[in-house]
């Protein structure tokens, strides 16, 4: 049977927060039993784009990571509270509103913090993928429908077909583990990895100039891992470097000038190097 998947593209999310507001619009003040009770107006969100920054000015990189129920095929909440969790044939995971009532254990059952506690109704709640609308013929849940670039998109297909998509588009899960989420992320490297940035320059007639189109090599233990070229500002950015991946050598090359190099250690942060100056050979 076709399953409902949701794909989040970090490069298409502009941080408009329409998804969160649309979710509130649908669920605050409206009870959609037997799918779910009302969402609390404040202090409860079933979907939320979280700002993530890497690097420092002027190389700061900013993206949003949409956090929501992952609708896991091997849902940890289902394992902990099998009675209160219902996984539908289309893959959507729902909490049983009756059994979720007065059951704060459910909140703890999600290791990703995506089950929330509605203080007013004293019940555990989470994203339903707007199943009440999908069942009534809507093509998309509210968050997706309100997304200007469809950074959130719905993919309905068999598991095997989706596995191929995951492979082709390099979709990644937000959280590590064996829970097999049906919510997957494109371009997640902006969240999970670091980049090294810097600038190359030289002096000409006493004027400092950007070293445009210079080669920049990323080396580890003498081995060239990557080679990029500087832009017209003489600047470069080497991305998708795993966190805590060690100490690298950055080498800059420009014809007619002596190579420049420096060492950089990548930990949790994305390092921005000082300007490196070429001197004529």
């Amino acid at each position: 049977m076709e399953k409902v998947h949701l794909v989040v593209d970090l490069n298409k999310c502009v941080g408009c927060f329409n998804c969160m507001v649309a979710c509130k619009d649908e669920h605050v003040g409206n009870s959609w039993l037997p799918y779910t009770e009302k969402q609390q107006k404040h202090e409860e969100k079933w979907i939320n784009p979280v700002k993530h920054e890497r690097g420092t000015p002027p190389f700061t990189d900013l993206c949003y990571v949409t956090e929501m129920c992952q609708h896991c095929a091997e849902a940890p909440c289902e394992k902990t509270c099998p009675d209160a969790v219902h996984r539908r044939p289309d893959g959507i995971v729902l909490l049983d509103p009756e059994k979720a009532k007065g059951n704060p254990e459910l909140v703890k059952a999600c290791p990703f913090g995506m089950i929330s506690w509605n203080e007013e109704l004293e019940t555990a709640q989470k994203c339903t993928m707007c199943a009440h609308l999908l069942d009534a013929g809507w093509k998309e849940p509210r968050c997706v429908q309100a997304c200007p670039l469809r950074a959130l998109s719905i993919v309905r297909c068999e598991d095997s077909e989706f596995d191929k998509l995951v492979e082709d588009q390099k979709l990644k899960p937000l959280y590590d583990g064996n829970h097999q989420p049906r919510v997957l992320y494109r371009n997640l490297y902006r969240y999970t990895t670091c980049f090294i940035s810097g600038a190359l320059a030289y002096k000409k007639d006493g004027v400092e100039k950007a070293a445009a189109d210079a080669a920049v090599r990323l080396k580890l233990d003498g081995e060239i891992l990557k080679e990029v070229h500087t832009d017209f500002f003489g600047e470069f950015k080497i991305d998708r470097i795993p966190k805590n991946s060690g100490t690298f050598e950055i080498e800059g090359l420009m014809p007619g000038y002596r190579p420049v190099c420096c060492e950089v250690t990548v930990k949790d942060e994305s390092p921005c190097l000082n300007v490196m100056y070429f001197e004529a050979s």
Binding site: M20, K24, K209
Partner: protein, 1008 residues
């Protein structure tokens, strides 16, 4: 002979028609009352007698209304309370037929010629007049025959907001949800742009912003004003306690009491003090619509009563309106350039795009929702290089990528001069174009090269000023000199926080001068960042709100351009010419005088004229009638307003508002207005018209929509129209205000006046709620903006401006400047004051009075910018316990209160012992504001950021004298004019310090 027979036949027909209509009227009314209880209630509202007749008493019918029953008798009697008199039968028939068919020209003519007269007590005459009109709209108003019924029983209506049009789903009289509009198969297919071998077509739907999507929470906000209110210690006949405004609480009063006070006070102060005693102003924006907008209903109402008005500074444009226009005109858009077909040209021909103080992803241009987002994503796909110049890594920059350059606020002009310097040195500008289409570059070059002041404006010169390395600026200048480049200066061919800095005039001037050096209007060389200039049909006419709706005001808005010949309506004129410059309202009230230069959208030299308060022969303002509460959030140094409101110089303060917020808390009488969801209107997506002509060219589709009355007004709130009508009735102005028409009637009249009536029937439109105007085929798209100028031919873009008299040579040839050329040395400024060091005929860099190295910098080391907000539309959407508060980039929930966000670099914070999520006090000599602290690498050190436009004003102690807790950042900004000879603000030149707040605060949970 034939004529005579025809005349006789017409006369007979007219007489019969009238006789028949009059005879059946009472029976019709009784039948309708039986069919609809709501109509029965309307009938029960008044017990009265009405005489309908021909003036010579040759025909007549006398109606008696008692307990919701109507009885009629034929003949003319002299005992009626209300009289409706037609000059003759022909006029009677034409008026009635016209009302039935939605054609009102005969009605307006008859009224103007006193061939149709309605006499009687205001409320009764108005009631009878609108009752007759309601007969024509019976199935709509009483049977709910509009909108689409969904399978599950929900009704789907349509409305418009500042954040995009919406479908509104309603069940049991309550809004269930709102969504963007998804087009159906019947709707027109969109356009396609082919660029670099790829085809780009926008999706068949509208987009919305968060403050559009959050409207349900605004309608049902606990802060809604549901009843008329009076300040508890305001006694209109005794002690008024003005000093307690902003302090004392309110009590509920009846509409009758409220209208008695407001109507009575308007008449009293005008009779006692004379013209000018009533003042009216409002925020820059309103709930969306054409008929209910302030340019329409409120404009007409205050024209009717006579009031002091507000001389608006061009608040979002400032530097463009007071600076750029002198080089190239474009006063109609306050200094912003033509938009036509620039999206297609940019995608096809531009080799680089520079966004300079331009963040359309946050500001949506204006009203443009997320429409431009779709096109900027295409540019990403095309890999056109982009550069962003802004002290803050704004949302457009973070989404699009490309180099981010962060100059210190108010120093951008220095960087621009250095770019021009490099071009002059290297000869990398369009010399042929400069020779043929411009004049005065040699004058500007003398200054840039340092010949006049000994300082060459090199990239090295600007580095210590802007904080941006010379290498970076030189690289940008060299690349720009090589590549065909689009410049997005501001989010909409204008705007941008840099134009609201000290001498932001010079920055806007520099922007247009740079584009002119590279051949402005040549393919690939123009203004814009994909926000404005889509290939839509500009020949289909539908008005924006600035076209004035039913204001009949042919001077105060753009009615005189498009509306007067299309929508028959009686004119309205404000006979009082006193105005207060907006940036000096508190001074005008407290000190009794104020003056400033006046903005004039129709000429370049008009802005050299001054507005002076008080005007000769006018009274100082005694009654302050404000719509909404936005000034604390939007006006500079806004604690001034607390002082003003608490002064006894104002004898009465009225606030008409949807929500209890901001200045509403300072009123004596509060009149509760309803939202657009609760009344009728009509509008078009992002079409404001007037001062941003063809602003709908920000959209991917032209979408004209009904604004259905989706639900009944909450509580006792009323539409603005109905509030004005009720006050007008108190003053005998009911006919003058509305021509006896209701809001619904005016919406229908507006529809009939536009091209909409040619493409869809009123009934169909009422049902479906929107219409997508088909785009024209590719070979009929508009000519490229300013390309006519680059080619040296007559202006061929589809607009009437500039005015004929603004051409000094032949009409239609050249720009609006005296020479018709682009003037690097502006003749208009040279003529006005060639020695004004703050605005010389050429663009220069002038250090900010409140920047690094200025005197206040000794105490306050942080430069604050407060651009237009992203998640609220100015104050709309913010506060009010709305969903928007939960956006963690908008407000921060700390210790039970949603704090406005203040952003700074982590290093600046740690130097002050501050950490993420702290409640901080941001302060300077002008006041202090409490905020939630967000640490971010989106700012370099020394620069801090917080949006303008918090909606409410919550001082922790005495108003105006204590820290403000809700985030009114404008308390901190300077009121000083952008440059001495301009009425413009410079809020982004603001120095502050910040410290941890340890005092007591309000709690959100206690507030509601």
């Amino acid at each position: 002979m034939v004529n005579k027979i025809t005349e006789a036949a017409v006369e007979f027909f007219d007489k019969t028609f009238l006789k028949g209509t009059l005879f059946t009227l009472d029976k019709l009314l009784n039948t309708l009352a039986k069919a609809a209880p709501a109509f029965k209630k309307e009938l029960e509202a008044q017990d009265t007698t009405v005489q309908l007749k021909i003036r010579d008493n040759s025909q007549g019918r006398f109606l008696t209304f008692r307990n919701g029953e109507v009885t009629g008798k034929t003949g003319v009697f002299d005992t009626a309370e209300v009289e409706m008199i037609f000059e003759d039968e022909n006029i009677a028939r034409k008026v009635m037929m016209g009302q039935m068919l939605g054609d009102t020209v005969d009605f307006v003519n008859a009224a103007k010629n006193t061939s149709l007269v309605l006499n009687g007590p205001d409320d009764k005459a108005m009631w009878f007049s609108s009752l007759l009109l309601k007969v024509f709209a019976f199935d709509v108003l009483y049977l709910g025959n509009y909108g689409v019924t969904m399978e599950n029983g929900e009704k789907r209506y349509v409305t418009g907001t500042n954040g995009g049009p919406l479908f509104v789903y309603v069940k049991d009289g309550k809004i269930v949800r709102v969504t963007p509009i998804e087009f159906d198969e019947e709707d027109a297919d969109p356009w396609t742009i082919t660029a670099h071998g790829k085809k780009f077509t926008p999706p068949k739907r509208t987009t919305a912003t968060a403050y559009g999507m959050g409207w349900k929470s605004l309608v049902y906000s606990p802060d809604r004003l549901l009843y008329p209110m009076k300040r508890v210690d305001f006694d209109v006949n005794g002690d008024r306690h003005p000093e307690n405004r902003g302090v004392s609480g309110y009590e509920r009063i009846s509409w009758d009491e409220a209208l008695d006070i407001v109507g009575g006070e308007i008449a009293r102060v005008r009779q006692t003090y004379g013209p000018g005693a009533v003042y009216h102003s409002r925020g820059s924006h309103h709930n969306w619509g054409t008929v209910g907008y302030f340019t329409s209903a409120s404009n007409r109402f205050f024209n009717c009563i006579g009031a002091t008005g507000m001389a608006a500074n061009p608040d979002s444009w400032e530097g463009f309106a007071w600076g750029a226009v002198h080089h190239y005109g474009n006063t109609v858009r306050r200094g912003g350039a033509e938009p036509y077909s620039t999206v297609e040209d940019c995608m096809k021909n531009a080799e680089m795009i520079v966004f300079w103080s331009s963040d359309p992803e946050s500001t949506s241009g204006v009203y443009g929702a997320q429409e431009g987002t779709i096109r900027r994503d295409w540019v990403k796909q095309l890999n056109i290089p982009v550069v962003h110049i802004d002290p803050y890594l704004n949302s457009t920059a973070s989404f699009m990528g490309g180099r981010w350059i962060a100059p210190r606020p108010a120093t951008d002009t220095a960087m621009a001069l250095a770019i021009a310097y490099v071009w002059l040195q290297n000869g990398t500008y369009d010399k042929d174009y400069v020779a043929k289409r411009t004049q005065g570059l040699e004058k500007w070059a003398e200054y840039i090269n340092g010949e006049t002041d000994g300082i060459p404006k090199t990239p090295e010169w600007q580095a210590p000023i802007t904080g941006v390395e010379a290498r970076v600026v030189r690289a940008l200048a060299e690349e720009w000199g090589k590549r065909k480049t689009y410049l997005a200066c501001g989010g909409l061919h204008s705007f941008g926080s840099a134009c609201r800095t000290a001498y932001g005039t010079e920055w806007a001037r520099a922007m247009v001068c740079l584009v002119a050096m590279q051949g402005m209007g040549k393919e690939g060389v123009n203004f814009g960042g994909l926000q404005y200039g889509t290939p839509l049909d500009t020949h289909f006419w539908f008005p924006g709100y600035a076209e004035g709706g039913f204001s009949g005001d042919y001077m105060g808005n753009a009615s005189g351009v498009q509306m007067y010949n299309r929508m028959p309506q009686s004119p309205s004129v404000n006979s009082e010419y006193q105005r207060i410059p907006r940036l000096r309202i508190p001074e005008a009230i407290l000190e009794g005088h104020a003056e400033a230069f006046d903005m004039d959208n129709s000429t370049i030299h008009g802005q050299f004229r001054k507005v002076r308060y008080p005007a000769p022969g006018h009274s100082p303002v005694k009654l302050f009638y404000k719509y909404g509460g936005s000034y604390f959030g939007t006006q500079p140094e806004s604690n001034r307003y607390a002082d003003m409101y608490r002064s006894d110089k104002l004898e009465c303060v009225v606030n008409q508002s949807v929500w209890m917020e901001g200045e509403a808390r300072f009123a004596d009488i509060i009149l509760p207005a309803c939202t657009t969801f609760e009344r009728w209107d009509i509008g078009e997506f992002a079409n404001c018209g007037g001062y941003i002509e063809k602003s709908y060219l920000q959209n991917n589709h032209r979408v004209v929509f009904m604004q259905h009355k989706c639900i009944e007004p909450l509580g006792q709130s009323k539409s603005d129209f109905d509030i004005f009508q009720a006050i007008a009735n108190r003053l005998g102005l009911w006919q003058v205000f509305s021509e006896g028409n209701t809001e619904y009637d005016w919406v229908r009249r507006c529809f009939a006046a536009t091209d909409m009536s040619k493409v869809i029937s009123w009934r169909q439109f009422l049902k479906k709620g929107y219409y997508v105007v088909p785009p024209l085929p590719e070979n009929r798209r508009d000519p490229l903006a300013l390309n006519w100028f680059a080619r040296g031919v007559k202006k061929d873009t589809p607009e009437l401006t500039p005015l004929p008299s603004e051409y000094y040579g032949r009409y239609g040839e050249g720009l609006q400047t005296p020479s018709g050329k682009f003037e690097f040395e502006a003749q208009s400024l040279k003529r006005f004051d060639p020695d004004d060091k703050e605005r010389l005929p050429i663009c220069t860099y002038i250090p900010s009075w409140e920047g690094v190295g200025s005197e206040p910098y000794e105490k306050y080391k942080l430069q604050l910018i407060s651009p237009h907000s992203k998640f609220s539309f100015h104050t709309m959407g913010d506060g009010k316990d709305s969903f928007i508060n939960d956006i963690e980039q908008h407000r921060m929930l700390i210790d039970g209160y949603f704090y406005w966000i203040f952003r700074m670099n982590p290093k600046d914070a740690s130097a002050r012992g501050l950490k993420q999520g702290d409640i901080v006090e941001v302060y300077n000599d002008r006041g202090s504001v409490l905020c939630g602290l967000d640490l971010t690498e989106r700012l370099p050190m020394g620069i801090v950021h917080s949006y303008e436009s918090c909606s409410d004003y919550r001082p922790v102690g005495e108003p105006g004298k204590s820290p403000e807790q809700n985030g009114c950042i404008n308390i901190l900004t300077p009121k000083r004019f952008i440059t001495k000879n301009a009425h413009g603000l410079a809020v982004n030149s603001c120095l502050v310090e910040v410290r941890k707040w340890e005092g007591e605060c309000l709690k959100w949970k206690k507030c509601i």
